[in-house]
Symmetry: none
Amino acid sequence: MVFLSVLTPVLAVILCLVIGFMLLKPREAASMSTGKPASKSENFRPWVDQDLQDDTEITAREDEVGDWMDSSEEDLPHVPYSQKRYSEEMMLQRSQDFYTLMNDRRSVRFISPDPVPREVINNVIRTAGTCTAPSGAHTEPWTFIVVSDPEMKHQIRLIVEEEEEVNYRHRMGEKWVHDLAKLRTNWIKEYLDVAPFLVLIFKQTHGILPNGKKKTHYYNEISVSISCGILLAALQNAGLVTVTTTPLNCGPQLRLLLRRPANEKLLMLLPVGYPASDATVPDLKRKPLDDIMVYI
Amino acid sequence: MVFLSVLTPVLAVILCLVIGFMLLKPREAASMSTGKPASKSENFRPWVDQDLQDDTEITAREDEVGDWMDSSEEDLPHVPYSQKRYSEEMMLQRSQDFYTLMNDRRSVRFISPDPVPREVINNVIRTAGTCTAPSGAHTEPWTFIVVSDPEMKHQIRLIVEEEEEVNYRHRMGEKWVHDLAKLRTNWIKEYLDVAPFLVLIFKQTHGILPNGKKKTHYYNEISVSISCGILLAALQNAGLVTVTTTPLNCGPQLRLLLRRPANEKLLMLLPVGYPASDATVPDLKRKPLDDIMVYI
């Protein structure tokens, strides 16, 4: 009896260790599987594209396919599609004209305070967002906030400048600090007060289904960036200028200021207007076509 | 003594539970901190934007600023910039016309084999890549591979279809497999043989400096996606169609097939041509302007 009562605690400890081990095991497995799927002895590669393993990686997940098509899209009836077919001369002329138009586009930081008709901005956003840009699974994962209210523009400026000053003063690497003296620009962003419109483009990282569950928006950043490209083309076509900015660390504050929901993340901020009469741009050289294109 | 020996296992169990709890605690803390960096007692937030912590996050690093400007750009002379200023009526008309043009754009999977003049493709790529798209720090981090060679197109098709078949057959979740029967599309991508041109858009994740060191291309995916948006506008303007595809798991194989260097990652593959005479598109509805735009 004494022998047994001495053994009992030892047995209890062993039992506890076994139970503890069993409790820990699934946690480890779970935490491993969040990083990379465990390699299985199957004859195909895992979902994640190894070649795209970087900070801007495309990670594929369940119910995602390469073609940007919605599964629900499949339930839709298909309708015939045709498009105006130009003569070859006409195509060539049109493509040349569009190149000429877009070739004048530059990132402009000196924006005139002259007012711009709101209906033009409507058309530009309509072009970029309601009809023309493709999106992964046709989720249309974008929200365009157009700010013309002077007080709100100023609030935005205060947030951006405060963060940018910290960026310049504290977060830049030594190399950058060394170069700071010769920099013409700094954290002062006058255009945020001056431009008649600020367009803040939010990506929706997920949507909300009717049953309240999350609906992941695959490729949302690529989709919104494509839409932004069409927006830039539409602005240029209307004779307006902008500069593509991605204000660092300002996203959460600007989201709260603009009362956007948590599933929306700020991707870009574009001040929009006419160029100022004394606007300048750096005398950049661009790569020639042969450097960026290969025919096979 | 008997009383004690009865109590001992109970004490041992309690002791084990306490130890087990203490072992579990730091693991949980560690797994939580991988999601978010620990808050520091500094008076500014760390580089990473907390609000952008997702798979498509913008991560800021040394020598990166919110404005898309190159430090070397600062050494460049500034030149005056002006742009054609249209009357308000003219702006409105132009923005309306561009909307009308782009409103006809759809993702089209049925592409005619009719040949397209190569010079039109040149102009389209020139528009998207050589002059008009902005890029983080003006790195122009894109390469456009234009494939018209039938044998090469077929090689691409074989790679894409092989991977897509695996995607459909093995990688899809159960939900997807369940829906497979009703799907109209599958892994067969006829357009890869049929379209007169395949445009493969590679993003350059970094460049090589003259001294052989890596030059990181910040925002390369956003930059290339913006350029792709302008490409889509240029194609539409010329009367051509495409479908935006991101072939899963095919990047590395296609990169090797096309002999692209390791710093280039496939972002998109666009088959380009006229729409087939019997082309159809799903009868999609788009969000109205008020759903995607907010005026303040």
